[in-house]
C-alpha cells in the first residue's frame, strides 16, 4: 500500500509540471502590464518600466518559465501585484477556510445522502420512496446561488435564526454548508438508491438470502460495500468541485475563501495569484483522486489486487 502511494505521488510530478506549463503560458498570452497593475494610474511611465524590468516581463518566455519553476521548487510562487504579499502566504491564509467548508459539506452530504438512498431503495415502490425520489430530484436541480438566496431569506431575514454572512461562530457556517450540501444530497441519494437497487438484484444477494440472512444483514453486510464505490466517486468529485467552485457560495455568504482570491485575481489581472492558486487547486485535485483510489482499494479487493 505504501509503495503504491509513493509511486502515485511520484507520478504526480510530471502532471504538476504540465499543469504549470499550460497555466503559465496561458497567463502569459493574456495582455497586461504588471507594472501598471501594481502602481495604478498614479505611477509614472518611468516607474512602470522600472518595475516591469525588475519582474523580467520582457525576458523570453522560456527563461521566465524556468525562473518561475525554480521559485516553485523552493516554495516561492511570486508576489501578489496588488497586495505585495507573497502568493503562498496569501493563499495559505485563505485556503484552510475553503478546505474546512468543503470537508464539512462533503461529510454532511455523505451522512445524509447514503442512508436516505439506502432507505429509499429498500422501501422501493412505497410512498416514502416516491417522496424521496421526487424531492431529491428537486434538490439536485436547484442552482446553488438561488438556494443560497432563498435560505438567507427564510432563515436570516424572516426567521432571524442565522446570520446572513461573515465568519465567527458555527452559526455562520450552517447556511453555506446547506447551500453546498443540499443539491449534493439530492444527487448522491438518487445515485445510492439506483446502485443499491441494482446490487440487490445480483446473484450474490440471492445466495445470501438462500443462506438465511436477514434483510438487514443482506443490506449492510453484502450490498453496502458494493454501493460505496460509486458514492465515493461522487463525493470525491464533489469535494474537489467545492474546493475550487465554492466561489458563489463564498461570495454570497462573505466567506474569505480561495474562491474570492481567485475571482479577484482574475479580475485584476493579478497573474502570480492566478498561477499560484491554479497550481494549488490542481495539486489538491490530484490528491483527492489519490485518496479516492485508496478508498476504492480499501473497499474492493478486486481493485486492490490491480495495484498490490
Amino acid at each position: 500500500m505504501l509503495k503504491f502511494i509513493i509511486r502515485r505521488v511520484l507520478a504526480m510530478i510530471p502532471t504538476i509540471l504540465l499543469v504549470i506549463f499550460i497555466v503559465f503560458f496561458i497567463t502569459n498570452i493574456i495582455p497586461g502590464d504588471p507594472g501598471r497593475t501594481i502602481l495604478g494610474i498614479k505611477g509614472s511611465a518611468k516607474e512602470v518600466a522600472l518595475i516591469n524590468e525588475e519582474l523580467g516581463i520582457d525576458d523570453p518566455l522560456l527563461i521566465k518559465y524556468v525562473n518561475y519553476l525554480k521559485g516553485v521548487i523552493v516554495g516561492d510562487f511570486g508576489t501578489s501585484y496588488i497586495s505585495r504579499v507573497s502568493v503562498l502566504d496569501e493563499i495559505s491564509k485563505k485556503f484552510p477556510e475553503t478546505f474546512k467548508l468543503a470537508v464539512i459539506a462533503t461529510v454532511v452530504t455523505a451522512i445524509f445522502a447514503i442512508p436516505i438512498g439506502i432507505i429509499s431503495a429498500t422501501k422501493q415502490h412505497s410512498l416514502l420512496d416516491a417522496t424521496i425520489v421526487i424531492s431529491s430530484l428537486g434538490l439536485a436541480s436547484i442552482p446553488g446561488f438561488w438556494l443560497a438566496i432563498v435560505l438567507i431569506m427564510i432563515f436570516s431575514l424572516n426567521l432571524g435564526w442565522l446570520p446572513t454572512s461573515g465568519i465567527g461562530s458555527i452559526k455562520h457556517y450552517i447556511l453555506p454548508i446547506a447551500t453546498l450540501s443540499l443539491p449534493a444530497i439530492g444527487f448522491l441519494s438518487r445515485m445510492v438508491r439506483a446502485t443499491m437497487l441494482e446490487v440487490l438484484l445480483q446473484d450474490y444477494i440471492r445466495t445470501a438470502k438462500a443462506k438465511g440472512a436477514t434483510r438487514r444483514q443482506i443490506i449492510f453486510k453484502h450490498a453496502l460495500k458494493n454501493v460505496l464505490i460509486p458514492a465515493v466517486t461522487i463525493l470525491g468529485f464533489g469535494f474537489s468541485g467545492m474546493l475550487s467552485g465554492a466561489i458563489i457560495t463564498e461570495m454570497i455568504f462573505g466567506l474569505p475563501g480561495i474562491g474570492q482570491i481567485v475571482l479577484n485575481a482574475v479580475r485584476m489581472n493579478n497573474v502570480p495569484v492566478v498561477l499560484g492558486s491554479t497550481i494549488l487547486l490542481s495539486v489538491s485535485f490530484m490528491l483527492v483522486i489519490l485518496a479516492m483510489d485508496i478508498i476504492y482499494m480499501l473497499i474492493d479487493p478486486r481493485i486492490r489486487k490491480q495495484y498490490i
Binding site: 450474490y204 445470501a208 438462500a210 443462506k211 438465511g212 453484502h222 479487493p301 478486486r302 489486487k305
Partner: protein, 335 residues
C-alpha cells in the same frame, strides 16, 4: 391438512403446486400442478429445457420467488410436517441454508466479490449457530468444510476473484453444506463449468451427499449428468411434470412420454454417421396462455385430436408416471 404421508422416508412432498408471475398486464403460469416427492438420501433430477419452470420450482421450495411478482397460487410444499408455503419469513429463514440449502447456476456471480470466502462460509454457520459454537469452533468448521470440498483452508482469506470457476463452485457447495442440510437443491450447478470440472464437481457432490445422508434435488437440462448421479428423474415441460420415474424407468423403460423420447432422440449418437441433429420441432407454448389440452400437443408427432381438448392425467404404473393420453389404456402396460 390432508392425510399425512406417514412414509418416514419422504423428506419433501410437493402437492399440486401452482406458481404464477404476475405484473400489471400479464400473468405467467410458470408451474402448473406439480406433484413430486423426494425420498431420504435419494437424488431426484428435474430435467427440462429452458423455461420449463425448473428454477421456479426450486425457488418455490426455498421461498425465494421475487416478492412482488412471483406467488404460489395453491398447493403444498411439505417439508416433514411443515407446509413451507404458509410459513412466515422468520421461520423460513431458519430453514433456508440450514435444513434446505441451494446451489445456484453460475458460480462466477454467486459469491460476493467484496467478502473473502472464509467469511462467506462462516456466515452460513453463524446464521444458524444453534449449538452455540465458539468463534474458534466455527473457524475450525470452516477449515473442515473447505478441506471437504478440496480447497486448501489456507486460502480462506482469499477473495472470489482469486479462484477458478470450478473452485468457486466448490466454495458455493461448501457454503451450502456448512450447516449439514437435509435437502440440497442444486440448480444446474455444473452448467457454467467445462466438462472435466463438471465431472469433478459431480463426483464430489455425490460423495458428500452420501457422507451427510442428504437428499438432493438436481436441476439440469443435461441428460448425461442425470445418468451419472440420479436415483429418480422428473421430466418437466411447460410447468408440468410430464414423466416421473426411477432412473431405470426413464433410462431403461420402453414406454416414454413423446417429449422424453424427443429429448433422448436429440442426443447425437457418435457411432452413427448423422449429418443433422434431431431436435424436437417447435417451441414450448407461451406460458401466459391457459391451455385446455395437453401442453405438448403442438409439438407432438403422435398427437391425437382429443389431445388438444382434454388435459391428460398422471397415468401410473408402479413407480413410473407418464402424463400422456397414449398411456391411458393398454399401451403403457406393454412395458
Amino acid at each position: 391438512m390432508s392425510e399425512i404421508n406417514c412414509d418416514i422416508n419422504t423428506v419433501l412432498e410437493i402437492e399440486n403446486l401452482n406458481v404464477e408471475y404476475v405484473n400489471q398486464n400479464t400473468r405467467i403460469y410458470a408451474v402448473n400442478g406439480v406433484n413430486i416427492t423426494l425420498k431420504k438420501g435419494k437424488t431426484l433430477a428435474i430435467v427440462g429445457e429452458t423455461g420449463a419452470g425448473k428454477t421456479t420450482l426450486a425457488y418455490s421450495i426455498m421461498q425465494l420467488l421475487p416478492s412482488r411478482t412471483g406467488r404460489i397460487k395453491n398447493g403444498k410444499i411439505k417439508f416433514g410436517k411443515i407446509d413451507i408455503v404458509n410459513l412466515d419469513e422468520d421461520s423460513m429463514r431458519v430453514i433456508r441454508g440450514n435444513l434446505i440449502s441451494m446451489i445456484f447456476q453460475d458460480p462466477m456471480t454467486s459469491l460476493n466479490p467484496t467478502i473473502n470466502v472464509g467469511m462467506q462460509i462462516k456466515e452460513s454457520i453463524e446464521l444458524h449457530n444453534n449449538d452455540k459454537k465458539s468463534k474458534k469452533q466455527i473457524n475450525e468448521s470452516v477449515d473442515e468444510i473447505l478441506t471437504l470440498v478440496g480447497i486448501n483452508p489456507e486460502r480462506k482469506d482469499d477473495y472470489p476473484h482469486q479462484f477458478s470457476g470450478g473452485m468457486k463452485q466448490r466454495i458455493v457447495i461448501a457454503m451450502a453444506l456448512a450447516c449439514s442440510p437435509q435437502i440440497l437443491i442444486a440448480d444446474e450447478p455444473t452448467t457454467a463449468l467445462d466438462v472435466t470440472i463438471q465431472a469433478q464437481v459431480l463426483n464430489m457432490m455425490t460423495i458428500l451427499k452420501k457422507q451427510n445422508d442428504m437428499s438432493m434435488i438436481f436441476i439440469t437440462h443435461d441428460l448425461g449428468v442425470v445418468a451419472k448421479i440420479c436415483d429418480e428423474v422428473a421430466v418437466m415441460y411447460s410447468g408440468e411434470i410430464i414423466e416421473f420415474g426411477t432412473f431405470e424407468d426413464i433410462y431403461g423403460g420402453k414406454s416414454h412420454h413423446p417429449y422424453t423420447d424427443g429429448l433422448f432422440g436429440s442426443i447425437p449418437d457418435i457411432k452413427s454417421d448423422e449429418k443433422w441433429l434431431k431436435p424436437i420441432q417447435g417451441l414450448m407454448p407461451d406460458p401466459t396462455l391457459k391451455i385446455k389440452g395437453c401442453r405438448f400437443a403442438e409439438r407432438c408427432s403422435k398427437c391425437m385430436d382429443f389431445c388438444r381438448e382434454v388435459h391428460p392425467k398422471e397415468y401410473k404404473v408402479g413407480s413410473h408416471m407418464i402424463r400422456c393420453h397414449l398411456f391411458k389404456q393398454g399401451i403403457f402396460s406393454n412395458e
